[in-house]
């Protein structure tokens, strides 16, 4: 059975495509402005395979970048919780860096690191890192007084226990943030590829744009949507399984 997220995406995609075609036939536009269903199917047959590989390539980088961001955000948030000053400094820095549009920073990254995997990974990680970091700092620096009080007053509190308590108590929030940032990781990777990489679906979209080929872009968007939905479904499933397991213990 199709997961809710996937059929929701399929419905939205179908509506979008339907509107485009309605516009095409309503305004009598050429295939250059909006491709015909025939052309879309033809493009799908020709480019579906390579584009699917490109989406998988992008997805792999996005997942890696996402994992990297989660690990980094956890480490920084755990450090940031030590004192209010460090926490507030990191938060301010994160807000400031987040304010820079990635399209402005990306060229510098590509110049420094080249247009290979590293740059794509770094940009994907950067785009989803800061929202994650801000949420993680919020979670890890906010005491759960009614639980921590006992351990504090009996001298049993360790930093590991504190992190465990705060993570456990906010597991739903953390899961939601992680799932939410997954889309950003995917978007970040595509943007990175669009700007400068030589692989991935973002790069394919760039070439399609050079060629003003909307049919290719529609096929790419479809595959990106399905790929992203599948990733989100997997994350939600993992998050739910984790929460269920913790509750049933």
């Amino acid at each position: 059975m199709l997961h809710r997220r996937i059929y929701q995406f399929l419905i939205i995609y179908a509506i979008g495509l339907g509107l485009l075609l309605a516009l095409k036939y309503g305004l009598n536009l050429s295939d250059y402005v909006i491709p015909s269903p025939d052309e879309i199917v033809r493009t799908c047959r020709t480019y579906g395979g390579p584009y699917l590989l490109a989406v998988l390539n992008t997805l792999a980088v996005a997942v890696l970048g996402h994992i990297l961001s989660i690990c980094l955000a956890t480490v920084v948030a755990v450090i940031g919780r030590l004192t209010a000053w460090i926490g507030s400094f990191i938060r301010t820095a994160a807000y400031n860096i987040q304010a820079y549009p990635i399209v402005a920073v990306a060229p510098i990254i590509f110049i420094l690191l080249g247009d290979g995997l590293q740059s794509r990974l770094l940009i994907a990680a950067m785009i989803c890192y800061f929202p994650l970091l801000l949420s993680f700092i919020g979670v890890f620096s906010e005491p759960i007084r009614e639980i921590e009080h006992f351990y504090e007053s009996t001298g049993r509190m360790t930093w590991r226990l504190q992190v465990k308590i705060r993570a456990f108590e906010n597991i739903q929030k953390l899961t939601t943030v992680i799932v939410g940032s997954a889309t950003m990781a995917m978007v970040g990777t595509i943007v990175a590829e669009f700007i400068a990489a030589t692989a991935g679906i973002g790069y394919s979209i760039r070439i399609a744009l050079y060629q003003s080929d909307l049919a290719k872009i529609l096929v790419a968007l479809f595959l990106i949507g399905v790929g992203t939905s599948l990733y989100l479904v997997s994350l939600e499933w993992a998050g739910n399984a984790l929460q269920k397991r913790l509750k049933s213990l």
């Binding site: 009614e146 009080h149 007053s153 465990k164 456990f168």
Partner: protein, 230 residues
Amino acid sequence: MPIEGRHISYRYPNAAGEVFADLNFRMDGPGFHALFGPSGVGKTTLAKMLSGTIRGFEGTIADDGVRRVLYTYNLERLPGWSNVRAHFEEIAPLAGRRRMEELIETFGMEANVGSRFHRLSLGQQNRANLIRYLLQDFDLLIMDESLANVDEFTREKIILKVKILFPDRCFLYISHNVAEVAKFCSQVLVLRSRSRSPQLVAVQGCDHRESAESDPGLLERAMLEIVHAA
């Protein structure tokens, strides 16, 4: 080990008025004492001063011989990643395992310790929380509404057992139940509003114990005294 507070004055940062002005009190030695008073007079504040959570107040608290003060309140929770027994075992010294079982039985928690904390009723949660404090090393345990939502019969059973199990420790029981504090507590420190002087009055309670017969007349007198003082 008397605990004596002298000329205590305190105002919360950025607060308009003082909570205490020249507050004096004395709690004599081990036993089951109470801190009683209407809401908002500063019972929790005084408890936190005793436990060292609030510092920077004027005056002194002399507590020679009191090494360790613990403060527990009724909203505390146990982490949810394991059941209540596992938590107890984690924080109870091996030598104290017998006492742990004894407390579980007295507190009527045998059937519940296998559950996660969040699955317990409010009364059961408060009992579970109190058990883990009683398994710690302390000289003074401040119990802020720690038996709230526990039925009267179980409460009585718990208090009487605690008196037997911990004869050499000092307890400060914060409650709004006049009859309860009058019956079971040795000294009842009645804390009053800031406008009244003195702000704290000590009343002698009945200090009822398991083996002793209770005297209804004495209890009535103590209750009246507490109500008048408040």
